[in-house]
Symmetry: C2
Subunit: 328 residues, 2 copies
């Protein structure tokens, strides 16, 4: 990051995901000075989520005795399709009720600080490109596998965000034209088949129809509280149903990756998000599908690797984005 | 195109497709000075196709009394996955038997002229971007719908060719994970469902199982000689079976376009290749699918338009590519 107007001042970066909100103060050297978390509780709707977001920001500033005037800018990475010019979250399959919410102006209005809004997976891609697994890699794609599946695209060393700021909705690519309808309105989306939500849904479906699994004990009989994380734990413990459910999702993930490899011929695909914690259990079968089905030259050209920055990728990337906007 | 080394000298551009070979002499202003054609007859295998290609070049040069030393360069657009660094056609689903063919060096060796090799759809994208439907459009995707389905990607005004020169194999994106196996080794590829070959195959299949169609008379009872072009003719004449076959392919094409729109958020998708001659019969249902299923903001941001340069897109784009390489 280069020196700029607001030189030396940190960015307050916020990552608004389907499950949690992370806010951080980040120096212009990319160091996280302070962090604050809260749950998103997305089902409570936009206004409640926005209030919770603003209170996370307030907490973070007051805990460090920082006034908003001491910030270079605020940068928000949000899980949804962004209208970059207008600063809107236009739609978010993982934030129910969000439709054309002017999030940039709401935050800018409250704190009186220059505010940016980008997609959360785009931010994570930028974070991993600058500080993580994708350092020095010019053409890469980041997939965030969590509640949903997000994507961020780095082309020729720069974030690609398309003609209106919403490129990278990789989770909403149809891979099964006869598949289930997604909340985005499309059919057979990768997200419906390989996200954390899909993994939990499939485990619940199979257990409800009478199959046995250690998951039933793990959740104390409350089948509906099975999450992808718990399926991962059961699989690590050798539970056959959990292993099968993850293998199925991994195969779908591999199909999505084949599409990305054949379309982008990327140097690297980085896999982040909560599901990435499943590690080789998820990535090995997906890589196998890529080896078997993608164009050989392209399959050889790509490395498929786990993300390195964990939960910080989004806030770090959002900060990079803000510093780049100010210096550009 | 800028002035350069070899200033004023034209490029000999050649488009090697699954069906035909087109060669042209093109000025540094993008004017086609002379053209020569031949059939590819791809089933005869690589050596026969290369010989036919070289003889098209010889014909073109001798008919115009041009010596190869009077060329800026030779630029070949080939239907297949290209290893740009090595100048190889590594694989081509529509040129049977082509595997790691050093086409660049074969041509360079024979004519002693600097030679370039790129993918044919990438070339067409560059052609349409510089001289056709995509003039002034910075983020666009071109689809060539012919024997196969090719793709070319322009990002930030430049051809994007990926980490090893093979980006844009859009026809080999899985849209039906339970679909038929493609000759590329992948499953349920867009090309298997929406290419000219797919349209002909589906019409033949339905007529063979006893359905009635004016196509049977159009081909004089030789069902196996039905082509997508003939299906298009029958559909224009109101033949119900032909109309249904095209509608089915158009719906699949729409699904592929939804994926491109959600991933790239492009300003424009240009549709070229032989199938594009079907016009609105093909494009209207595909656009409808995009309107219904892609993210709304992204669907509104994209224009889906027919290509303007017809058969010349590939040779014009190959020439642009060569001039850009020399001036870079």
């Amino acid at each position: 990051m280069q020196e700029s107007k607001g030189q030396g001042l940190p960015v307050l970066a916020l990552d608004l995901g389907g499950t949690k909100i992370i806010a951080a103060i980040i120096s212009n050297q990319g160091q996280v000075i302070a962090r604050e978390y809260n749950l998103t509780l997305a089902n409570e709707g936009p206004q409640a989520v926005i209030n919770r977001m603003l209170s996370v920001i307030d907490c973070l500033l007051s805990s460090r005795g920082i006034d908003s005037s001491q910030l270079n800018s605020i940068s928000i990475a949000a899980a949804g399709a962004i209208d970059f010019d207008k600063g809107l979250v236009t739609l978010s399959p993982n934030l129910p009720g969000w439709c054309d919410i002017p999030l940039r102006d709401i935050v800018q209005g409250k704190y009186g600080v220059n505010t940016f809004l980008i997609n959360d997976a785009s931010a994570a891609a930028l974070g991993e490109h600058c500080f993580g697994a994708g350092k020095g890699v010019d053409n890469l794609i980041l997939l965030t596998l969590g509640t949903g599946i997000g994507g961020g695209i780095i082309i020729n060393g720069k974030l690609y965000y398309g003609s209106s700021g919403s490129a990278g909705e990789i989770g909403h690519m149809t891979i099964d034209v006869n598949g289930p309808r997604c909340s985005c309105g499309n059919i057979g989306c990768l997200e419906m088949l390989a996200s954390g939500t899909a993994v939990a849904r499939e485990a619940i479906r199979r257990i409800r129809r009478g199959e046995r699994s250690s998951l039933t004990e793990i959740v104390g009989g409350k089948i509906e509280s099975i999450t992808a994380e718990k399926v991962g734990m059961a699989a690590q413990g050798g539970d056959p149903l959990a292993l099968e459910v993850i293998l199925k999702a991994a195969n779908y993930l591999g199909v999505g990756m084949v599409n990305l490899v054949n379309i982008f011929n990327p140097e690297m695909i980085i896999v982040g998000g909560g599901m990435a914690k499943m590690g080789d259990l998820l990535l090995d079968p997906a890589k196998q599908v890529v080896r078997e089905r993608a164009f050989q030259l392209l399959a050889q050209a790509v490395s498929i690797v786990p993300a390195q920055l964990g939960n910080d990728a989004g806030v770090l990337g959002a900060a990079v984005f803000a510093f780049q906007q100010v210096t550009d």
